[in-house]
Symmetry: C2
């Protein structure tokens, strides 16, 4: 039951040799999703051995270059490498124009369809779902229109308590009704409450990606109880003024959001290029939220 | 008297970890010129320690992604790193729209001016000159409108033959007239021919960049006698059909151009990602033109 987050880039704005700007490759139950696609993302994929042709969805948070400038190159390379399978692209409306203008000028007709979903709502919306997962936008507060993304498993069925069920000799034919919540009505007409025979479902796992944003409690209701939260921490508290001015967050603010949202684990990223190490980010966040890591390019987190 | 070509990228189309798509950083007499700017070029500059803020000119050959997709990121980083000095940008007219549309959507106002020169002529034209150098376009034959660039030193003055001048006691006051070609008229009215006192000027050095193009003898008159020619060799002769179809050249064709143009040295580049080594390119070119090298990312050639 794979739910992996590969960090392809964890820096902000200006690329560095050891830290590329933002991109994440997510494998959730063999659904392959790219969140953001900075310049150089296709090379990061080669470096970290993840497969671009598997991608089914590309979700772009906002139109700052460090989150999307690698997209046209990635699509072109997919085309040159023989892709014919369609891909779903999500982002602000102008993204479609940016991509297709450039393909037009280069006289490139992609051999695969790009199904574009414009994101422009200021409310959270469901942008993808199938049998197993659903993806919601997380409206963020940034200098330009920006969304995070919440990827979660769908509600799972109740589990049969096998020990009890065997002892009580529950007929196999009843099982599919019991896992949906029905009580068991025995042949003699007596009723066994559902809760006597079942265990709660395996908890839904979820991943919330929140970058770029200033401190915004408006996201709390959407990311509440998430298993893993990635929250940008462009600055430390001593640059709080700069964070406010540029609509970014500090490590302390990210930790505060994690604590208030009651998430299980916090990842910090999108570090300003001015910082060479991340120790101080962890020091600043830990007193507020202790289960915290600072990501590096190439890291893989399994939920 | 620096005239250096730094190869920042020497591949075509799909980026590879060991070979980025096209970009070259040129220092000619402390004029700094970038030719083409593929995705990842700004990182290549960091890797090979050349300084983006020194650039005065960026020249884009054509609007295929592997020649310009790094441009918006490069300009943005220059801005974020505090550039205020203007820059000159040359390329097909749509380049201006591509760049400024993206800056507009990201709400970025560069803190420096970009002086854009649209290139659309099918004839070679002078696009830049100052006291010491001049730059001409080299119209190429590709699937989309495309120019190479010829960077050459301007004609230099005659040199005084010091030994002769001392022996003949040529007055210092006459020197600046003699280097311009005047004969020396002595005080007694007798005339010493200019050629008796001077040596020919130091030869002009020149660099011709020709990528992307199919075999095109139309460029010969422009690149004739160039000191150094960079000519694309996307394929080997066994892929001649593919070269023709995609408006690219083979190593043999590049060597043929070099021989016919009587250049001093040939550099091959823009290799298709299908080739892992360049030995066969050299083998194919050498019988036709022997002073040939296959470039690698990070190479520096001094003229």
């Amino acid at each position: 039951m794979i739910f992996d987050i590969h960090i392809l880039g964890s820096g902000s704005a200006v690329p560095k040799l050891h830290r590329n700007p933002t991109s994440q490759y997510i494998n959730v139950l063999e659904r392959y999703i790219l969140i953001d696609c900075a310049e150089g993302t296709q090379l990061q994929m080669q470096k970290y051995k993840v497969k671009p042709q598997r991608l089914q969805h590309i979700m772009i948070s906002h139109l700052h270059g460090d989150h999307y400038l690698g997209l046209v190159g990635l699509l072109s390379s997919m085309h040159l490498n023989g892709r014919t399978k369609p891909i779903n692209l999500y982002g602000p409306p102008a993204l479609q124009k940016i991509v297709f203008d450039q393909l037009h000028y280069s006289k490139t007709t992609l051999a695969f369809d790009v199904h574009f979903t414009p994101l422009e709502s200021k409310e959270s919306e469901l942008i993808f779902e199938d049998q197993c997962i659903e993806v919601y936008t997380i409206p963020l507060e940034h200098r330009v229109y920006c969304n995070g993304f919440l990827i979660r498993e769908k509600d799972k069925p109740l589990r049969i308590n096998k020990e009890v069920a065997m002892k009580m000799k529950v007929p196999v034919a009843w099982m599919h009704r019991i896992v949906k919540g029905e009580d068991w009505v025995k042949e003699d007409g007596s009723l066994i409450p559902n809760s006597d025979i079942t265990l709660p479902p395996v908890p839904n796992r979820s991943y919330a990606y929140c970058s770029d944003t200033r401190y915004a409690e408006s996201m709390l209701s959407i990311i509440q109880d998430a298993t893993l939260l990635y929250h940008e921490a462009t600055f430390l508290e001593d640059k709080l003024d700069r964070a406010k001015k540029t609509y970014h967050s500090t490590a302390k603010q990210a930790a505060t959001i994690a604590a208030k949202a009651n998430v299980s684990q916090l990842l910090l990223g999108h570090f300003s290029a001015r910082y060479d190490t991340t120790e101080d980010f962890i020091k600043e966040a830990t007193p507020i939220f202790s289960n915290v890591k600072a990501v590096e390019d190439g890291d893989k987190y399994s939920i």
